[in-house]
Subunit: 114 residues, 2 copies
Amino acid sequence: MNDCPFCAIAAGTIAADRIYEDEEVVAFRDINPQAPTHILVIPREHIASAAELTRAQDPLWGRVLHVAQQLAVSEDIDASGFRLVTNVGADAGQTVPHLHLHLLGGRAMSWPPG
Amino acid sequence: MNDCPFCAIAAGTIAADRIYEDEEVVAFRDINPQAPTHILVIPREHIASAAELTRAQDPLWGRVLHVAQQLAVSEDIDASGFRLVTNVGADAGQTVPHLHLHLLGGRAMSWPPG
């Protein structure tokens, strides 16, 4: 076992407001939401960040996106719009070293994106 | 011909500070940079946004990511970190209806991401 909190959420050993899961991907609400909809979509597999994704993992990277697309519909933000963000490393403020795609919507997002 | 500016950049009929291109993907510097490195990675194919990507396009979505990964290395922000952002629709402030992935780095990014 590693001590990654997102691996623990994927395994169910740490509680989270899970709203979607399948064999490859889990989605849950961000514990510090920055918008009316703020969901994290993660692969179950421990991958440190988007910088580590290989060509062989394109189907998994696609799966993460398609779950975000589905959740945008179920959250009713597909028409109003949404922002997808993933952070890599210190300058981006990546706080958990397990790849996660942020889905944010339900309000107008400003620019720059941080 | 459509009137999409990013299709025109991909075709070379509108100038841009292009830093990468291959048969599928083009990358160029954002005309209004929000960070020392601010690059847009686009597919040549006109796809309105990340909301429109299909399962069949996972290899293309992967290709966009892998070009961003390569550019993070060539821009020397792979170690310091970088943020990847894509906007869908009005609430996200999507200004050009052609899928583009923002690669931002070279400074500490704040939170929330807009």
